[in-house]
Symmetry: C2
Subunit: 596 residues, 2 copies
């Protein structure tokens, strides 16, 4: 039975690495303890394994159907969703006043990783609902909170994020959906959206689309965008009536096949009502306040999808026998499990280093999110906000890009069987590919990181990151971690800092194109360093625990092996990538499209 | 309309880079000329575009069905296969005496690239038939050539390679299929094979499986393996009768879906007859004489699959508008084609560098295959054989591994649409994944390269490779190619040579595990260098032609951009990879499987 996520890793991250129980000293979490954390993680883990995972394959094989203009989801979902609601997934981190459990994001992140690893699509309905309800919770007025948010957090309605339009794609400045005021205070909306996950279904009685649109007469570009809540059916005199939101088509996705991705039309009959959420023209800014959260969730999707495939590959490699040790040419001896072959172990350890590194990074960023929102000390809040902001593009894109690589390795470990849809790794490979595309492509993350986040506030976030790394290196040295590893991580941070200063200066001098030419390489080197930092932290704690005679020795030694692998084989790549950023190598910058 | 492969590239490779017409001075090719080459390439190109490509999507959507124990292929195949036969694909390179056209492999390789890019599965039936018939042509006796080979080259029967068994996988030493002699000279065969592509179908009246099996009483291991021809139906008194070969199951592959991959059972009723091909116990050796050819074909599959996706991505990037130039914040200006964005150009140029580099390498190896078989001078033949042998694992695995990366980039360029099965890039991504698995996984290629090929004959092949590189560097300097590129390529060869000597010495001293610990990294660095060498060669010719006022300036400038990209961004990675090989970094070597 695939564990989905390694229980030992989750426990290590929560209690050994980021000390989640320490968060209980903050007022918001004061009713919690390690026991309540364990209860929640245990509940999610149980339904992930018992309910969501068995439905994964059937849901992948039979995607939702469009019938008479309505989406019918897979029958399994009707049993799954109420259980997600019962466990309290929807409002796990939200305040008690809106029906939430006030759990730390740190805990919810790792608990929900099981649900994602088990069945991304099934969890997706819940995640989107939480995100949409949270927008109303943050910016909506009292009637919207009462009428819409409450029903969403209670699991009676679901939610979506409706940003993308067919003609605009990633360029939100170009969206054209419009909203005209009515006398009743709501707006008449017209427009088309695409790639709306969960935009219609028969799972609950209604769907609320948190939609970006322009007020009539609004300025062009991103400054003229407002946020609206547009339910598929609206309440009139206590009854739900059609709100003129229609399904224009279903996208045939290659993964996440249990969750419909739709083209929606608003107001084809001129009768689609939307309600303004927050301030006019502040829609994009409001949406982006949620975006860090959404991006960390995508990173978690990536880590979880790499995790479940990694565990499948480990089990296969332990049980599948084939070939013999190097140099053993005696065919009368029985073949060995393929995990004995060095190259198979390489593929498994690489997957493990990616998965463990991604989860550690995500746990760390989730803890910053908790501190930012709930620490009593404003200085701690500000520090956490800056670090979270800095690392978000990495936490989103590293698991997506390197997770895809890990998923491909899981297929490879399975050999010819991995190429068959009778085995699961190929399905996770398909699922994973979306994570480099949605919620901002990797290209957009790279421009965001280098063009905005590392140079923000005179480089303050990067200096804080340097402090985190210096502290990790110092503690690693004290714990007796290999000195070369410590030196390697510390030196690469210095390199990244000087590189960033140089590129920032180039931008300030007006050469923005030169500054950003290698943003993809910059994101990659920054990610490698961030993950190396996490591996160093994990290795440090592993050392400390082993020295204290901890009984988890095999697991802790595995963490050390992963750290060695990442720091010795991957981290040195930073040097070459930094050279590229610095040199401004211009092959594709000065490429004429006619040369292609 | 997707060109599948760039006509300008094919022409450049054949006539500017490897000078295919010069091969016509060899006796075997004396009836050929540039005109006959063009005729053949043109025919393949035409049916690829007009016949095979339109059937690609339908064949992917409706794989062959297993009905009453027989495989029914997609209806399109019944129209396609006769056209492949008519063009002369089956025996393009084979001698006139067996009905062939005696074309150079160099020409056939690039002509067939169009067929593969159009529809891998459709071409697969032909490629497998050629390979199987070629085995009989090389090792079979006269009756087998007359009865089996002729029918296969004529297109009346098809062929397969039946090596893999369920319990043995890549470990051919462990195959257990047995063959017992009969009085009639043939053998009674019993056993099971798996992943047999085209092992049954209703496309032609018969299939001949070139099968590895053990004579009763043969020694264990690879030395006891013989080669048999086992038709699904055998000729008795001029009529075809059932030969007790049954379809035990069909693999549900994730790509190559037009070509069935089957589990076959031989002799369930004790009545399966096979005919020995060549010498008893020489089966594996004979099969491996064909293996270089098969592996180069897999490399070509990889390059072609990356090529068709690259062209799709270029066209999409030129026509899809989205966003504006960096720093242009005026939303009233129209959006630009996404090819204007630096990161999109990066993704396209990376794909191009992989595709062009792979095709150049394959054209170069194909030319060596031609010289090895047909040069008059034994020294030229031997030199070509050694170089072909050395570069084959690279020509097989580079297009498979980096082609997969290129295919993923083609999906990424398409954004959300790339994640939909209504667009083609996702299908090519699925197709490509097989190429790192079949005909020897990438792991096996890496052991083969470092453990055997680079150290063969006291390093003679590597010295010849060094001569090739030195010559390419000298010509590049004369042509005025950027001196830094020349220096970079030359220096990396020296590095690879000294690294190889060091690793070889380690192996000779008994530390085979240490020698091969980083075989994956070695294969990668060797591949990067080999492809850089090809880019340097292409850049040299491009320089020479541009200086002569050649009218293909945009295309030639594109080659220079690809060369710059590869040599400046990818080649420096060799240094780090060589460090890993040399250091013997041991994280996964000493990994205890219990730590995973």
């Amino acid at each position: 039975m695939n564990p989905l996520v390694d229980d030992r890793l989750v426990s290590f991250l929560l209690y050994d690495l980021v000390d989640a129980p320490a968060l209980c000293s903050l007022a918001y979490f004061e009713d919690h303890s390690r026991d309540t954390f364990e209860l929640y993680v245990g509940s999610c883990r149980r339904i992930a394994r018992d309910v969501l995972f068995p439905a994964y394959r059937p849901m992948d094989e039979e995607p939702p159907r469009l019938e008479d203009g309505r989406i019918r989801v897979h029958p399994s979902m009707h049993a799954i969703y109420p259980q997600l609601v019962d466990v309290g997934v929807l409002a796990a981190t939200r305040p008690a006043e809106v029906g939430g459990q006030q759990l730390p994001m740190t805990v919810a992140t790792l608990a929900h990783a099981y649900l994602m690893a088990a069945n991304l699509s099934a969890y997706g309905y819940a995640a989107l609902t939480t995100g949409a309800a949270h927008l109303i919770e943050s910016f909506g007025d009292e009637p919207l909170r009462r009428e819409l948010m409450t029903r969403m957090y209670e699991g009676r309605w679901t939610g979506t994020m409706a940003l993308t339009e067919p003609q605009a794609g990633s360029s939100l400045a170009d969206i054209t959906t419009t909203a005209a005021p009515t006398e009743g205070g709501c707006y008449l909306v017209r427009g088309s959206k695409i790639f709306i996950s969960g935009g219609d279904h028969d799972l609950t009685e209604n769907v609320v689309n948190l939609t970006l649109a322009r007020l009539v007469g609004a300025p062009p570009g991103t400054r003229g965008i407002s946020l609206f809540a547009i339910p598929n059916r609206r309440l009139e005199d206590g009854a739900l009536v059609d709100n003129d939101v229609s399904v224009a088509g279903a996208i045939h996705k290659i993964g996440w096949r249990g969750l419909p991705s739709l083209a929606l039309s608003f107001g084809e009959r001129g009768d689609c009502r939307g309600w303004l959420v927050g301030e006019p023209h502040h829609g994009l800014r409001q949406m982006f306040q949620m975006m860090n959260e959404a991006r960390i969730m995508i990173g978690l999707n990536g880590a979880a999808t790499a995790s479940v495939a990694y565990h499948e590959a480990v089990e296969y490699a332990r049980t599948r026998t084939q070939g013999r040790a190097l140099g053993d040419r005696d065919p009368t001896r029985p073949p060995v499990p393929i995990v004995e072959h060095a190259d198979v172990r390489r593929m498994l350890l690489r997957q493990k280093a990616i998965v463990d590194g991604a989860f550690a990074l995500l746990a760390t960023t989730a803890r910053w999110a908790d501190l930012w929102e709930h620490a009593a000390d404003p200085a701690v809040r500000e520090r956490s906000r800056l670090l979270l902001d800095l690392l978000t593009p990495v936490a989103k894109s590293f698991p997506a890009e390197h997770g895809f690589e890990a998923n491909a390795l899981a297929v490879q470990v399975h050999g010819g069987y991995g190429y068959s849809s009778e085995y699961l790794p190929e399905a996770w490979l398909r699922d994973q590919k979306l994570n480099s595309i949605h919620e901002g492509t990797t290209g957009i993350q790279s421009l965001d990181l280098l063009g905005r986040r590392v140079v923000a506030q005179g480089g303050a976030p990067l200096r804080l990151f340097g402090e985190e790394i210096a502290e990790a290196v110092a503690r690693a040295r004290r714990a007796g971690v290999n000195g070369a590893w410590c030196e390697s991580v510390g030196r690469r941070f210095d390199l990244v800092a000087s590189l960033t200063a140089e590129l920032g200066a180039r931008g300030l001098a007006g050469d923005v194109e030169g500054m950003l030419a290698h943003s993809a390489d910059y994101l990659e080197l920054f990610s490698i360093l961030a993950v190396a930092w996490q591996h160093l932290r994990m290795a440090t704690v592993a050392h400390e625990r082993l020295a204290a005679g901890d009984e988890r020795a095999p697991f802790l030694r595995g963490l050390l092996a992963g750290a060695q692998y990442w720091i010795c084989t991957e981290l040195p790549r930073v040097d070459h990538l930094a050279d590229l950023c610095r040199s401004g190598e211009d092959s594709y910058l000065r490429l004429d499209p006619d040369w292609l």
